[in-house]
């Protein structure tokens, strides 16, 4: 057990113009034990950067996900994310065994088989969004913002389909979810308002499904009765928020990387490597020790916050050969882009399929898609919890293929 005073480093906020993951992560990985950082609110938390240590933290029963526990490293207040009220069913902040009841109720909806069944619907959504982007682009000299016109709407529409949001409500649903995550374009007040509106809407949707069940996730959850009706809005909000910007950022960053590395276009292995390489959820898996615990030879006392850095773990040379190289052919698959342990992303197989179909259809239908600005001018998100692009200006010239037949 180490007794030496650990080094204190800056809170791992991304800095404008800096490469991601930042070079300092490499430095932290080589230090013995763990490093300590000061959170924006003045508290201290441990940073965990090695792949093996991150997996150990995320599977340790002495370490909690509960944000109400004193010492939990709350960073969202200072990072422009709306503070989620504690709503019943917000099970990401629960530990086992309470957490497991929610997880077990939901996993039938996200099995490999169920996600495979959703493929045709996802294909239709992706194609319809490409149609819309091309149509809108016609009046703008065949240009578009791939983030706003494609990457953001696709996951929102997929989750709408999954939840059984009626088509007539999808624009409302999409615009509110977009306000919720638009760090630059909306104020705290607007985001809080959007949260309230979405919760009200989801409450109404649950009431409707109680009266008129359909073939959708909400109706099936109500039918099995594992979860109480008043727990559903929190669960659904979580599915909505967890699966929206994360997926959109992976789609946007993946397209950017493919445009820079066109030799990989058409290779489905790009999905897994995009997840690892970009690690959009670097700062999402926050934890707190509930008992004294040893991590990497370092004593972490009960009540001390722990931040496993996903991007650092995913670029650990002990786990991945040439980790800073984008290499879809690599054989190592054990990245922690979706976290690890009992909270590992429930929707991960859905996300994989969305990314795969999004990349494939986009480049099949717009083979000459290209960046409309130099890559170094792309606006990266430095001001939020998630990594991604605020915008991805693209253009195309030829007549795109595979568009719906126009009537003459």
């Amino acid at each position: 057990m180490k007794s030496a005073e650990p080094s204190v480093v800056d809170f791992p906020l991304r800095r404008p113009g800096e490469a991601f993951p930042p070079p300092r992560y490499q430095d932290y990985r080589t230090r013995e034990g763990l490093v300590v950082c000061h959170l924006p609110n003045g508290n201290r938390a441990w940073l965990v950067t090695r792949h093996e240590d991150v997996r150990a933290v995320l599977t340790n029963k002495k370490i909690s996900s509960n944000p109400d526990y004193p010492g939990f490293p709350n960073i969202s207040d200072t990072m422009g994310v709306p503070r989620q009220e504690q709503i019943p069913g917000w099970f990401v902040g629960l530990d086992s065994p309470e957490h497991d009841r929610f997880r077990k109720a939901l996993i039938p909806e996200f099995t490999v088989r169920r996600v495979r069944e959703l493929r045709p619907a996802i294909e239709r959504t992706v194609d319809a969004q490409i149609d819309a982007m091309l149509a809108a682009g016609k009046t703008a000299g065949n240009t578009a913002d791939l983030v706003a016109d494609f990457a953001l709407p696709v996951p929102s529409l997929v989750i709408s389909t999954l939840l059984g949001v009626p088509p007539v409500d999808r624009d409302f649903f999409e615009s509110r979810t977009r306000t919720l995550i638009a760090i630059r374009a909306s104020t705290d007040q607007q985001r809080n308002e959007a949260t309230k509106e979405l919760l009200r809407y989801i409450n109404r949707l649950v009431e409707i499904k109680v009266k008129w069940p359909g073939d959708d996730l909400i109706s099936r959850l109500l039918a099995t009765g594992t979860l109480a009706a008043q727990e559903l809005p929190g669960v659904l909000m979580l599915l909505l928020i967890a699966g929206h910007e994360t997926t959109a950022n992976n789609i946007g960053l993946g397209v950017m990387t493919l445009l820079q590395n066109p030799q990989w276009i058409g290779d489905d292995r790009v999905v897994e490597e995009t997840l690892r390489f970009h690690s959009v959820a670097d700062l999402v898996s926050l934890r707190v020790a509930v008992e004294d615990v040893e991590i990497s030879g370092q004593l972490v006392k009960a009540g001390e916050g722990i931040i496993p850095l996903v991007a650092a773990a995913n670029h650990d040379a002990d786990a991945f050969a040439c980790p800073y190289q984008f290499d879809p052919a690599r054989t190592e698959r054990q990245h922690v882009a979706f976290g690890y342990g009992v909270h590992q992303c429930l929707g991960q197989n859905l996300v994989r399929v969305e990314m795969e179909i999004a990349y494939r259809r986009l480049f099949e239908r717009i083979p000459d898609l290209e960046l409309a600005v130099p890559v170094e001018e792309l606006p990266f998100k430095y001001d939020g919890v998630l990594c991604g692009l605020h915008e991805l200006p693209v253009r195309w010239s030829q007549r795109p293929s595979g568009a719906q037949q126009e009537e003459h």
């Binding site: 497991d100 997880r103 996993i107 039938p108 099995t111 054990q334 342990g341 590992q344 197989n349």
Partner: protein, 66 residues
């Protein structure tokens, strides 16, 4: 090689099904189900991968020495 799975620990991530679909499946509750306890030699690498990817560490692989 012998495989055991702990279905109580399983959190339904489905990584085993993606890594070794000939050996692992998910039942209708999304929980791991084993298609064979003694996979053929050509499945061993995929089974080890499945075991290492499992986020709840529900898969135990033992190799018997003959």
């Amino acid at each position: 090689m012998q495989i055991t799975v702990d279905s109580d620990r399983c959190v339904g991530a489905g990584q085993c099904v993606l890594a070794a679909p000939a050996v692992f499946d998910q039942d209708e509750d999304g929980v791991v189900s084993l298609l064979t306890e003694h996979p053929a030699a050509d499945q061993h690498t995929a089974v080890r991968l499945a075991s290492s990817l499992c986020p709840s560490r529900s898969i135990t692989v033992t190799v018997q020495q003959d």
